[in-house]
């Protein structure tokens, strides 16, 4: 049996831990991970150009490398899909990481009943202060909370791992945002399936 061809994974930094966990658990030694800063999500319109630059750098380093972009649409309005198509690289399906962790089909089925939900993943729970609280200016201007979150009713923590400490952190985040709390274990969802297909 021949060894699988080397695969370079170009991922959002918010997925680094999860991707490394999957690589380790499955022994996918032909995969190597490179990440872009997770805070690109604060300006999603900058993601396609950042991905294009990174793809060019990877190709300059290892011209024969296959590249798999581990981003969903992530608020780029289809632009990332167009960029990846132009570059001839694959990317993940789905609108964002909440959806592919939950499973894109299941997430879409639930959308109508959950449009008042704000989601956290393991990453966002760990980095709630940096990526939500401070990024939204709530540390400096707590009065903005209701302008930003007033229409949400609940926070759903989409858990990739069974971790009681993260569960408590997510619940505390819900309290800070004034939202009801729910936890849903998702595991790695469609991310695991997409990587397994390259395994």
């Amino acid at each position: 049996m021949t060894a699988p061809a080397p695969l370079r994974l170009l991922a959002c930094g918010a997925l680094a831990r999860e991707v490394l966990a999957l690589i380790a658990a499955n022994g996918w030694s032909h995969m190597a991970l490179r990440c872009l800063p997770a805070d690109l999500h604060l300006r999603p319109e900058r993601i396609p150009a950042a991905v294009a630059r990174a793809v060019a750098e990877i190709r300059a380093e290892t011209p024969a490398a296959q590249i798999f972009v581990l981003y969903a649409d992530c608020g780029t309005g289809g632009q990332l899909q167009r960029t990846c198509a132009e570059l001839g690289v694959e990317m993940l399906d789905g609108p964002h990481c909440y959806a592919f962790f939950d499973g894109n089909a299941a997430f879409a089925d639930r959308a109508e009943g959950e449009f008042d939900a704000f989601y956290l993943t393991d990453f966002l729970t760990r980095h709630f202060d940096a990526f939500v609280w401070r990024a939204m200016g709530l540390d400096r201007h707590p009065e903005l909370r209701d302008m930003m979150f007033g229409h949400y009713r609940r926070l759903i923590y989409l858990a990739q791992t069974e971790d009681p400490a993260l569960d408590r952190q997510a619940e505390a985040a819900a309290q800070r945002l004034g939202l009801a709390y729910e936890r849903r274990f998702t595991g790695y969802g469609d991310l695991a399936a997409a990587l397994a297909a390259k395994g």
């Binding site: 604060l42 300006r43 999603p44 900058r46 649409d73 608020g75 780029t76 309005g77 289809g78 632009q79 609108p95 879409a108 959308a111 109508e112 449009f115 008042d116 990024a135 939204m136 200016g137 709530l138 400096r140 201007h141 903005l144 302008m147 930003m148 229409h151 949400y152």
Partner: protein
């Protein structure tokens, strides 16, 4: 040592300096200072319309441009919007009394299944600042609510907003229903929201996609003017 800015006394500035200071204060989201400065300009004999356009709208345009260019982020824009809103609440009743120009009427709302309204609120505020009468339907609007509102209000423009890729297709449902009911040509339809683009706007049959509040105002003005030219 006190910051030099702490010593600025708004009433001691001349008009030009005061307007410049208002732009700075809007940029910094200083609501109280904006309210005070609006009062000063009115006392000096400025018309409410002049205060609105030269001090508030032009200041907020700078904020909008810096948001577009990645210099400002959402929290700063919201603070600036709050400050502008405070100034506008002083001017609004006066504008009605002093016969400020009316540009047209817009019904605006976020589409069904979507609760995001920060961008929609900014558009509504800037449109109001530009002389449009606004009927804001809020969030999560089904097609029936939009259609009932545009007919009831005799609107010129329908504005729809969506933040989610999963909800933006609903705009087409609204436009298609307008076509089915023979209403489409009666109204200008503008769409906006982070995941949209011009191509999407064209594909669903909107008159225009507006990338931000400033573009929405300019687009609305130009489409209203074109419509007037066609009917004269």
């Amino acid at each position: 040592m006190a910051d030099e800015d702490d010593d600025i006394i708004l009433s001691e500035l001349d008009d030009e300096e005061l307007v410049q200071q208002m732009h700075d204060d809007l940029y910094d989201g200083l609501k109280d200072e904006i309210e005070e400065a609006v009062g000063i300009l009115l006392e000096r004999g400025w018309t409410p319309y002049e205060v609105l356009t030269q001090a508030l709208v032009s200041g907020m345009t700078i904020v909008g441009n810096d948001f577009r260019d990645g210099i400002l982020f959402v929290p700063e824009v919201l603070l600036a919007a709050n400050a502008m809103k405070a100034g506008m609440s002083i001017l609004k009743p006066l504008l009605a009394e002093t016969g400020a120009p009316r540009m047209g009427k817009m019904v605006i709302g976020t589409v069904k299944g979507d609760i995001h309204d920060i961008g929609k609120n900014l558009v509504a505020m800037m449109m109001e600042g530009a002389g449009f009468e606004i009927v804001d339907l809020g969030i999560n609007n089904p097609v029936e609510t939009y259609l009932e509102a545009i007919e009831r209000e005799g609107a010129d423009i329908l504005g729809m907003s969506a933040l989610l890729t999963t909800t933006m297709p609903y705009m087409k449902v609204v436009i298609d229903t307008m076509k089915e009911q023979g209403l489409r040509d009666k109204y200008i339809v503008l769409v906006g929201g982070a995941p949209l683009n011009e191509e999407f706007g064209r594909a669903i049959g909107a008159d225009a996609y507006c990338r931000d509040a400033a573009v929405a105002v300019e687009t609305a003005k130009s489409l209203i003017a074109r419509r007037h030219n066609q009917t004269v």
